[in-house]
């Protein structure tokens, strides 16, 4: 089987696995909608007090909230994707078998996680977003080109998100207990991607810093591309650059981890 078809099959498997949990998906949609409601009201109050905060008007701030809820599970912003299973395999030592298989470990998990992300975008993301757009005034463009650019930005965001979580998961080779790493993932994910507050509303130097970090590629950049707040091409370059850096770093750490496994004899 060709490499493309192999990883295509892996991605399809990731998609199908999550698709089987219907009740859990419905529960997730409900929860994302409730959290979206709470956040929308607080943002409306905030933008009421300070119109054009971070260059957004109220409709754009509302759109940002619902995009956040739509992409929350897709980009596993708080964690909860492939890394849970991967870390378990590292913990139990089963990963030693994976390392000797004739498939690329990183590409395998990337494909599987992209499949999961695609399902959660469709299964968990669309409904809260449509609900938000129907109930509140939003800044959703009618322009097909913008939506296409948004789609590209979301795919790049999926890869960046994977890159971050791959590194977090690999830490399991050196740390006895993964709780700390997952907690760090949660903190940075919520805070630095804009889930807590859009990054362009962050004050001063703190804002400059978080907008340059890879987490900005996850929610902030796709949102800005959709709402026409950012030019697509530089935005893609920013995302792709982080994606390459993170994947390369993941590759290096994986090599070091593999050596460690060999030394320890699995």
């Amino acid at each position: 089987m060709g490499a493309g078809r192999l990883y295509g099959a892996v991605a399809a498997g990731g998609f199908r696995r999550y698709a089987t949990y219907r009740a859990a998906t419905a529960a997730g949609v409900f929860t994302n909608t409730v959290f979206g409601l709470i956040l929308v009201y607080t943002y409306l109050a905030l933008w009421d007090e300070k119109p054009h905060l971070g260059g957004y008007d109220q409709a754009q701030a509302v759109t940002f909230v619902w995009l956040g809820q739509a992409l929350y599970a897709t980009l596993a912003i708080q964690g909860g994707g492939f890394e849970i299973e991967f870390m378990e395999r590292i913990r139990t030592g089963e990963v030693a078998i994976d390392l000797y298989r004739p498939v690329d470990l990183q590409a395998w998990w990337l494909a599987s996680d992209l499949g999961r992300a695609l399902f959660q975008l469709l299964g968990r993301g669309v409904v809260p977003f449509v609900f938000g757009a129907l109930v509140f005034p939003t800044a959703v463009p009618g322009d097909v080109g913008r939506w296409l650019a948004f789609a590209v930005a979301v795919v790049l965001a999926m890869v960046v998100s994977f890159g971050i979580r791959y590194l977090v998961a690999l830490s399991g080779f050196w740390l006895m207990d993964g709780t700390g790493a997952l907690q760090a993932l949660m903190v940075t994910g919520i805070f630095c991607s804009g889930m807590a507050l859009p990054l362009n509303a962050f004050p001063g130097a703190l804002g400059e810093v978080v907008r340059a970090l890879p987490w900005a590629a996850q929610l902030q950049v796709p949102a800005d591309v959709l709402m026409g707040k950012a030019d697509p091409v530089p935005a893609f370059v920013f995302q792709a650059a982080w994606a390459v850096v993170l994947l390369a770093a993941g590759r290096l750490v994986q090599l070091a981890a593999a050596r460690r496994v060999v030394v320890q004899g699995g």
Partner: protein, 274 residues
């Protein structure tokens, strides 16, 4: 005789099981301390987001930062208490699915006590600690005309709030008897409720405020009594002045409702076995 006093028996079993887990947790003190520290960071984030908002504005929904911190501290602390005491019950769906609930049903102790105390996670005190810190800041920084009644109301609110949130946890667990995979729905009410109450009621739509006052009455955790303490109008017009003193009654009613839901859930499990 055992069984004739289920409440006392439940409390006894709860204490025994929780103590066992606490002993086990404290075997690894360093690891425990690090987890609590990490928890402080994680749980503190939503307050950092509020601080960031207030770096751009002076008031939110008409409330100043110390006033929002007051609401936040009350909400977070009482939620933390409930999560520590009974949060483990959220795993009920898993226990129903994998059949391990049966092993609890053959022990001579009420099932709810066993589920709630199972894996008692002392690390959840980080939420209580973080909430208390913010509450402490609010008490110092805000400009409240203190009276003896208001002073008494602060611990009263934390306690009643903890009981109200506990009832929500139990009701959520009871729901999992029926829908085992839908444990995330519970999050919408527990974590969602906690997040909602961290912001002033003036921010939210009237219907939402009405809903959380009369139907899902978490407004009595802090919004209503805190409005009295802060000397602000109540979140809804027409709510009588004594409503600020209603939290104990609301907490009792919530417990009763949650208890009935739990019994119905357990009964349905014991008649269907799934």
């Amino acid at each position: 005789m055992a069984g004739s006093r289920p409440l006392a028996e439940g409390w006894r079993a709860y204490r025994l099981i929780a103590a066992m887990w606490i002993r086990s947790t404290l075997t690894y003190r360093v690891s425990f301390a690090l987890t609590v520290l990490g928890g402080l960071l994680v749980t503190g984030l939503d307050f950092v987001a509020i601080l960031l908002m207030f770096s751009r504005v002076d008031v939110l929904g008409g409330y100043s930062l110390p006033e929002v911190a007051f609401l936040y501290g009350l909400s977070a602390t009482s939620f933390g208490l409930a999560d520590l005491a009974i949060g483990s019950a959220g795993r009920l769906g898993t226990r129903v699915r994998d059949g391990t609930l049966d092993t609890l049903l053959v022990r001579p102790a009420p099932v709810l006590a066993q589920v709630a105390a199972d894996r008692f996670a002392l690390r959840r005190i980080s939420r209580i600690m973080q909430g208390s810190l913010v509450l402490g800041y609010a008490l110092v920084a805000s400009d409240i005309g203190w009276t003896p009644v208001k002073v008494l109301m602060v611990p009263g609110m934390v306690l009643c709030g903890g009981v109200i949130f506990s009832a929500v946890f139990v009701a959520g667990a009871a729901f999992q008897f029926v829908a085992q995979d839908a444990s995330e729905v519970q999050n919408a009410f527990t974590y969602g409720g906690q997040t909602l109450l961290q912001y002033p009621p003036t921010v939210f739509g009237r219907e939402l405020v009405r809903g959380v006052t009369f139907i899902f009455p978490v407004a009595f955790v802090n919004w209503v009594p805190a409005a009295y303490v802060l000397g602000r109008p109540y979140p809804l017009d027409g709510v009588p002045r004594w409503a600020a003193f209603a939290p104990p009654v609301v907490a009792a009613v919530c417990c009763l409702a949650a208890g009935l839901a739990w019994r119905a859930g357990l009964r349905s499990y014991r008649s269907t076995g799934s």
